[in-house]
């Protein structure tokens, strides 16, 4: 049995089951009727949806008659004589206001980054002053997750990178009979540029995002607040171990990436009848120590940046599951921008240093 609605003179007769299904059928008609009274004596069930319908009618000044006591009490408890709060309408901001807000936000964000770097510096200073307070176990744990656990993926990508690089350059080089110089190209390319960059990109996706999500979840669960009120500085307790671990792990992973990448390139040269030994000694002749050290230094800076950005985004997470996702996304995006920009700066610096 469902709900029915009939209009007799200026009385609206309601009957049947006023639940969500019943109300959906009669609500539009009830809304547009010009009745002044409702006769609800034939209503035999009326849940929240039905009460809402009666509420709307009585808000319009329509008298409700014949409602059984229980339902009448439910309706009265909702105070139908008092209007409901309405949705607040958002005010549209003018372009000057928008511009001002955006500039203020950008400025605040830049300030915040500088303050965060300052916080790291302060924490690092206290670490140097009292090294026994450093969290070595936590650092090792992060190093394991960010470094050792990343070995397979870094190895795979580097191997393929070496193979691709050698293969692509071998085709034009062969036209000039200069296959041997493929080893120079692969060696220099990997050591100076590609291995540090590729390792850092992988770490940004793996570790930077993980840091942001981890710290972001801790933030939304008030765990960061709990640490702070216990007198444990989140900088020292959470950020510093991550920074140290990733800054040390990235160069190590880069060394591995270089070795595996060179091996991949060597395999391609092997198919061109150049023995591995020749290829490696050729590469070793071109790659100077400055190339090698420069690449590793770059990798350490990349690692530091990725960890700092991940932690920063995590600690600045808003509340809710979505905010944690946003923090992880922006950690990756910011890290990638950081990598490209700082790689460019390194190229300039090494050029002037004559490395």
């Amino acid at each position: 049995m469902t709900a029915t609605l009939t209009l007799r003179d200026d009385t609206l007769l309601l009957s049947g089951r006023l639940d969500a299904t019943g109300c959906a059928a009669i609500w539009p008609a009830a809304r547009s009727s010009a009745a002044t009274t409702v006769d609800a004596s034939a209503v035999d069930y009326c849940d929240g949806a039905g009460i809402a319908l009666l509420f709307e009618l009585s808000q319009r000044g329509i008298r409700i008659d014949g409602l059984s006591d229980g339902y009448a009490a439910m309706l009265q408890a909702l105070r139908p004589d008092q209007p409901l709060a309405q949705r607040a309408t958002a005010r549209r901001a003018g372009w000057i206001e928008v511009l001002g807000r955006v500039s203020a936000r950008t400025l605040a964000s830049v300030q915040d980054r500088i303050a965060f770097l300052g916080g790291i510096t302060v924490a690092a200073r206290s670490l140097l002053l009292s090294p026994q307070r450093f969290r070595y176990a936590a650092t090792l744990d992060v190093a394991g997750r960010a470094g050792a656990d990343a070995l397979p993926i870094v190895g795979l990508i580097s191997f393929l990178l070496g193979v691709i690089l050698a293969f692509q350059s071998a085709i034009p080089m062969k036209q000039f009979g200069a296959e041997l110089f493929v080893a120079n190209l692969v060696g220099l390319g990997l050591v100076r540029e590609l291995s540090p960059l590729m390792t850092a990109v992988l770490l940004a996706g793996r570790t930077g995002a993980a840091f942001a999500a981890e710290l972001g979840t801790m933030k939304t669960n008030q765990e960061i607040d709990a640490l702070t009120t216990m007198g444990l500085d989140p900088m020292r307790f959470l950020v510093l171990p991550r920074l140290v671990a990733v800054t040390l792990m990235t160069p190590l992973l880069t060394v591995l990436a270089e070795v595996i990448g060179l091996f991949g390139g060597g395999l391609v040269l092997l198919t061109l009848d150049i023995p591995l030994k020749t290829a490696f000694s050729q590469a070793a002749q071109t790659v100077a120590l400055t190339d090698y050290v420069g690449g590793l230094f770059k990798a350490a800076v990349f690692g530091f940046g990725i960890a700092a950005i991940g932690c920063w985004r995590g600690l600045r997470t808003g509340s809710g599951a979505q905010a944690v996702g946003d923090a992880a996304t922006s950690a990756v995006v910011t890290s990638l921008v950081f990598l490209v920009v700082s790689d460019g700066l390194f190229a300039l610096a090494y050029y002037y240093l004559g490395w």
Partner: protein
């Protein structure tokens, strides 16, 4: 007596190797307010999670509204689970939706009311729990007790036949708690909704409960099932007496 709306037989609840509850059996009649009591960590939330199908029992059977929850799978299980409302101990509001949108969600998904009508129903639920003026707030901007009330409003949105509330009045002031009790009583009395409520508040137990089931951690199961007056005046065992007379062991 008619067929009970909830029937539990020989239920054993375990997390992996750790058994929390053993051999729990009871049934709840439609329109009843059924309260689950017991000390912290005795398995009240665990029992509730089994009743709403979030956990699979290690042994035993559960019937809801005539259908066996423990034997249903897939779409049938989902349909069964849709038939009731739940307010979790922690609130469990959707953080990316405003308070009003949280309450609107079930109305949007499961009713054919037009948008204006849905919004009115949702706003009235919020008025019922005293959150009318916080409709556009995000859950994170609410106090703990307010989040709880918003969760109750969401559970009530569809006036489901069975409502499970995990410590609804924890974190509420006595006045708001009493209003909530009155609301539960009214919905059970007028609409015949069935409530299964976990609570520790003695005042609330006497205000709403038709019957109370008491669990105990050391007994790993139920130690009493009766009306609260009976449990208070004639406690069957020492733990029950201690609970109702607030004695220490």
């Amino acid at each position: 007596m008619s067929e009970p709306i909830i029937r539990v037989e020989q239920l054993t609840c375990a997390y992996g190797p750790v058994t929390v509850l053993r051999d729990v059996s009871f049934s709840v009649q439609a329109g009843e307010v059924f309260v689950i009591l017991g000390g912290s960590g005795c398995g009240k939330s665990t029992l509730l999670r089994h009743l709403i199908g979030l956990e699979r029992p290690a042994a035993g059977r559960i019937w809801l509204d005539g259908a066996e929850l423990t034997a249903s799978e897939g779409a049938a299980r989902q349909a069964l689970m849709r038939g009731f409302g739940v307010a979790y101990q922690s609130g469990a509001l959707f953080g990316s939706l405003s308070v009003l949108e949280n309450v609107l969600l079930p109305l949007n998904e499961f009713t054919s009311l037009d948008p204006a009508a849905r919004e009115l129903v949702a706003r009235l639920k919020l008025r019922q729990v005293g959150l009318e003026n916080y409709a556009d707030y995000m859950p994170a901007a609410l106090s703990g007790g307010m989040q709880k009330r918003a969760a109750i409003a969401r559970a009530l949105a569809l006036d489901p036949r069975i409502l499970f509330l995990d410590e609804p009045s924890a974190g509420l002031d006595p006045v708001t708690g009493a209003e909530l009790d009155a609301l539960i009583k009214r919905l059970a009395g007028t609409l015949g909704l069935t409530f299964v409520v976990v609570t520790h508040e003695l005042a609330s137990i006497f205000a709403i409960a038709d019957r109370a089931l008491m669990l105990d951690k050391s007994a790993q199961g139920m130690i009493a099932l009766d009306t609260p007056q009976q449990l208070r005046d004639h406690p069957p065992s020492a733990p029950v007496r201690r609970f109702f007379h607030r004695e220490t062991a």
